[in-house]
Symmetry: C2
Subunit: 329 residues, 2 copies
């Protein structure tokens, strides 16, 4: 089950109670009034406490704060939730610290294959790409699949070709090479898997529309062609104005076989529970300890962050002045 929430790493001197979704006794929301806008961001749930140098931890916090500030500024200025989650994920895709875009992990053949999705809660329109190798911002290609094709999900070489047709920026596969991820592959080949680093964002904008986006390089040493939960609507991503927007991170196969994101929405749809209870029920009762976590936001701008790992790199901001980033439970 998810650990209780006492944020250990808090940025810029602020000590704020994170509104985590943590099992039977959820932490009460700070404000009962709906937020005009709200944004949550994650950067993966695979870190293990004590295994990460303090300097790297500070860098992760700094990057997530930058992305959170970018999205919060957009939402505050009236941007749509769809534009905000895309911008936040694009920012993190260019950051080599995260397993998405630049910084993506390597598969068993030493290649990078990237997955991403985006969903518009107002219409349930969605787009996704899987296994792209030459697209700088997979989340933007996902959005173009949503807006400019009759399809939802395009995979593999066809998706790379589609990027050219749709004008999504392409790069040489070498763009994605980072020494740290290459070493991770070498270590994984010797010892097992390295977790984490998927990025995602969920938002509620001033018009009350929800959106979610997720982007990942998948798992180190994965079989070529393996698709995880991140590009699968209902598994790693979901957005529906009547329930909530969700982005997940963790063991993708578990998120896929339990339909995690859609299952959280179903708790709200059918039982009318609060978003933090919905997230906690699925992360605690359906997933297993160590599987990962989710961020979610509901139509009133309430944010939930639930995880059953040591930590989840996460941030939350809203129109009420909340702005916080943390890693550990």
């Amino acid at each position: 089950m998810p650990r209780s929430c006492s944020p250990a790493s808090v940025l810029t001197g602020l000590v704020l109670a994170l509104a985590c979704a943590c099992g039977g006794d959820p932490v009460p929301e700070r404000a009962a009034a709906p937020a005009e806008w709200a944004l949550a961001v994650h950067g993966g749930a695979g870190l293990v406490r004590g295994e990460i140098p303090a300097e790297h931890e500070r860098a992760l916090i700094g990057s997530l704060e930058r992305a959170l500030r970018l999205g919060a500024g957009m939402l505050d200025q009236g941007a749509s939730s769809l534009d905000a989650v895309e911008a936040v994920v694009r920012d993190l895709e260019d950051d080599p610290l995260f397993n998405a875009g630049r910084g993506a992990v390597f598969n068993a053949r030493g290649e990078n294959e990237l997955d991403a999705s985006i969903m518009d809660g107002a219409t349930r329109a969605c787009g996704a790409v899987a296994g792209v190798r030459t697209v700088r911002h997979p989340v933007t290609l996902a959005r173009r699949v949503m807006e400019r094709t009759p399809h939802v999900l395009v995979a593999g070489a066809g998706a790379d070709r589609l990027a050219l047709e749709l004008g999504a920026e392409t790069v040489d596969p070498a763009w994605f090479f980072t020494e740290r991820r290459w070493q991770a592959l070498e270590r994984a080949r010797a010892h097992g898997r390295e977790g984490g680093g998927t990025v995602g964002a969920v938002a509620r904008d001033r018009r009350g529309n929800l959106a979610a986006a997720t982007s990942t390089g998948g798992t180190t040493g994965k079989l070529p062609g393996r698709v995880g939960d991140s590009p699968i609507v209902g598994a790693g991503t979901w957005a529906d104005n009547t329930t909530c927007a969700v982005s997940g991170t963790g063991r993708g196969e578990e998120f896929l076989r339990h339909g995690v994101a859609r299952s959280i929405a179903a708790w709200i749809e059918h039982r009318g529970v609060a978003v933090d209870e919905a997230a906690a029920r699925v992360v605690r009762d359906v997933l297993q300890p160590g599987d990962g976590g989710v961020i979610a936001v509901d139509r009133d701008g309430r944010i939930a962050m639930a995880f059953n790992t040591d930590g989840m790199i996460r941030g939350a901001a809203d129109s009420g002045g909340r702005f916080e980033v943390a890693i550990w439970e």
Copy 2:
């Protein structure tokens, strides 16, 4: 909304009331007692009444009857639901009348790209492949992904390579060429899309375990790399012993963005409704007329078949002696 159910095409002189899921006034089940085993099969929901020659209609009915008899015989002999749905779908994958395996439609580049998935309701284990071009039985490769890899979904060239490693039968891409589907591509290029022909099966075995499988060639003229709902757990396929097993057919993008199969299961999980009501609510209230249909079976062996198209090629059999195949409403 789904049309009311009065089977017009009934095989071998049998006139049986189909237990369809049809909105607010479901047809009562014939038997209140749980069936020891039950099987439902579909062969697509894209046909339009009056546009299909009688001879072709008879051939479709005959093929579906053959597949239904195969699976029913296995279940009657005590086979697992997982083995039965795989065998039924394999049978239909080799049948050029259906848009799966041999007989698959062509994409916009004149290629066949095949998708399939399978799910075990006892464990929620699942496997899927997307965009394979050289695999005779995509559903069997999906099962091997489930049983012999740590992954759930493998797409594109990586999946074709994996077939060699896992010993799934491969064929020259020319195996999938059928003149009828080639002509369909030519017509689609001129006039629009041809619908239908995805195949699927859901079963409850004598031990009470549920399973589902779906296989397709996708949509005629699709963009290369397009992945529909069939290989996506939660969209086109779902199986969970606590709720139901589902296989869908129709406009894949709509099934994806509404998470159709998982949504049906959620109605049972959260509201405790019968499987026919759950299927009807999603097909009628969430999907739009013309989108397609589903077959489903619950833990008591009750079968639901709901569609909002002119027809759905479908069959149902159970341990109580039911054995029926039909196309139109």
